[in-house]
């Protein structure tokens, strides 16, 4: 009896604590978004999206930075997706399970937590200097691809692990090879999960500024890039650059650019969720 009362009080306390924690998060986010919207919405316009950068806040736009972000997004995806998924499949399906692979697994998980600026330094040395790619979109994309590879590998492995053995059994029992089983059954069944991981990783990549600054992304690019070897800027760097200016106009521009970046990120996450749900429904019925 006494115990029951105690448990009920604990229950209550815990739910209050949880409620407070959640509220703090939501309030902070709301304040942030309202502030940004307040500053940014008035400047956000078609002109803002299609104008080149300028020294005059009212004339400046985010066209080059947005195009840079699009380039970076696509190239990073093209590089990281096949590499990450293939590594995940290999480690999960073919890799020998021993102490070394256990160590590798832990290391990959740890790599996902390495500060992004470290990846920037790695990219600077390898891609910019050794491979002589210069301060190009390609060098930036390769660097970001390295950054998100661990996330893609880990989520691919998780997705593959969740595929029931009965599905593999069915395929093997009909005379399928291991590769056929992976290609025709395991990958389709886990693709929803893999895709979610890839898109979430990519939405992290397009929010990164630090590693791209290190590999030499520019704050001011007069023209939108037209090839992977061009110089570039991206939205986070543009935002960073504007925020450090004294004029009030640039602060507003930065807020507007943040809104654009947020919309892109939310859109990506939305697509990820939509695709996952669609895929799972298709796989269930």
């Amino acid at each position: 009896m006494n115990n029951q009362v105690k448990n009920r009080i604990k229950d209550k306390l815990f739910s209050i604590w949880g409620w407070i924690s959640v509220s703090i998060g939501i309030v902070a986010l709301a304040v942030f978004i309202i502030d940004i919207l307040f500053d940014g919405l008035p400047v956000l316009s078609f002109r803002f999206l299609t104008s080149l950068p300028s020294r005059i806040p009212e004339k400046a736009g985010i066209f080059t930075a947005m195009m840079g972000t699009v380039w970076i997004f696509i190239l990073t995806a093209v590089i990281a997706f096949p590499l990450g998924v293939a590594s995940g499949v290999y480690l999960e399906e073919y890799g020998i399970k021993n102490r070394l692979s256990k160590l590798l697994e832990i290391n990959i998980a740890n790599l996902a937590g390495v500060p992004s600026i470290i990846y920037g330094l790695l990219g600077l040395e390898i891609f910019v200097r050794i491979f002589r790619l210069g301060n190009s979109i390609l060098a930036g994309s390769l660097t970001l691809a390295l950054l998100i590879l661990p996330i893609i590998i880990v989520s691919t492995r998780e997705a593959i692990k969740a595929v029931p053995q009965s599905l593999r059994d069915a395929s093997y029992a009909l005379g399928a090879t291991k590769w056929q089983t992976i290609w025709y059954q395991v990958l389709p069944a886990s693709f929803g999960g893999i895709l979610t991981g890839v898109i979430l990783a990519l939405s992290r990549a397009i929010g990164e500024a630090a590693p791209l600054i290190v590999v030499g992304a520019l704050a001011y690019v007069p023209f939108a890039p037209t090839s992977p070897m061009d110089n570039f800027s991206v939205l986070p760097i543009q935002i960073f650059n504007w925020i450090s200016r004294p004029q009030k106009g640039f602060i507003q521009n930065a807020a507007a650019a943040i809104i654009v970046l947020l919309i892109i990120t939310f859109l990506l996450n939305g697509i990820a969720m939509y695709m996952r749900n669609r895929w799972q429904r298709k796989m269930k019925i």
């Binding site: 059994d169 029992a173 009909l174 005379g175 399928a176 389709p188 796989m283």
Partner: protein, 279 residues
């Protein structure tokens, strides 16, 4: 013993001994499956002990015995489905159509086309009914649309599913009932045209009506295929099988004509099991 055999083999190849052999060869030819002193281990655990069992072509063999006695292990031995378990080890001979599937050079994929398998829980692919049945053909690289179509429809007709699904072959197989799903799984196996079909408690997840349909189906399939079925249902074993094999703690205790096993078992443990006095 294995090394002794190796020494004998070259002698067997000599002409004069060949003339002595035919009677033995003849006997072996009607046995589509034969295991000779088979032992199976999972690491240290001895799961099958000196199992000698011969199975005739176009017969239905029921494997019965209490839970954990090695029925599934025996079944999966025959299409090498346990190969992926690292601790799984086989000693002895498993002959299928006279070929030692663990020692002769064989393609494991080819073996599984000859020895099909139906599982306890229906496990259709999350694809259309048509694609489920066509899968085994597609992975063989068969591209001929007419051939695939013909074989798929033929297989669906064989399992008696045609009237139920003919209008929506493109429907996802997971949307079917459990019994229909299991028949899709059987059709999928038939489409590959195996010689032997292994069934591991194929009706244990099904309702009585679906169960009796599958039992009827097994009796029909006997004309063309050799069927080995694991079941916990004694009535089922006596209804559909010609031969019954009773396993207990990894040993094959008794094997014989089903009518004999059920009316007149020789071993006391068999009798106790089939009369339900231990389980």
């Amino acid at each position: 013993m294995i090394s002794a055999e190796k020494e004998i083999l070259p002698i067997l190849n000599q002409q004069e001994l060949y003339t002595v052999e035919p009677t033995h060869l003849h006997v072996a030819s009607s046995d589509i499956v034969e295991t000779i002193d088979v032992n199976v281990f999972y690491g240290d655990f001895h799961a099958l002990k000196d199992v000698n069992l011969a199975i005739k072509k176009n017969s239905v063999t029921a494997l019965i015995g209490p839970s954990g006695c090695g029925k599934t292990t025996f079944l999966r031995l025959l299409n090498r489905m346990n190969d992926y378990i690292p601790s799984h080890m086989v000693r002895g001979k498993v002959l299928i159509n006279g070929v030692d599937i663990y020692r002769d050079k064989i393609e494991i994929e080819q073996l599984r086309k000859e020895v099909g398998m139906v599982f306890q829980k229906p496990n259709p692919f999350p694809k259309s009914i048509f694609e489920n049945v066509a899968y085994g053909l597609r992975i063989q690289g068969i591209k001929d649309k007419h051939l695939i179509h013909e074989r798929v429809i033929n297989a669906i007709q064989q399992v008696g599913l045609w009237n139920e699904v003919k209008d929506n072959l493109r429907k996802n197989a997971l949307a079917l009932s459990g019994g229909q799903q299991q028949r899709v799984c059987i059709a999928r196996t038939l489409a590959v045209e195996p010689d032997i079909i292994l069934m591991d408690e194929p009706t244990s997840a099904l309702d009585p009506i679906s169960t009796s349909r599958i039992e009827e189906l097994i009796l029909q399939l006997k004309q063309k295929y050799t069927i080995i079925i694991v079941t916990h249902n004694m009535q089922q074993a006596s209804r559909i099988s010609d031969t019954t094999a009773f396993f207990y703690l990894g040993e094959l205790i008794e094997v014989g004509k089903t009518t004999d096993i059920f009316t007149n078992p020789r071993n006391e443990r068999t009798e106790r099991y089939i009369t339900g006095r231990f389980g």
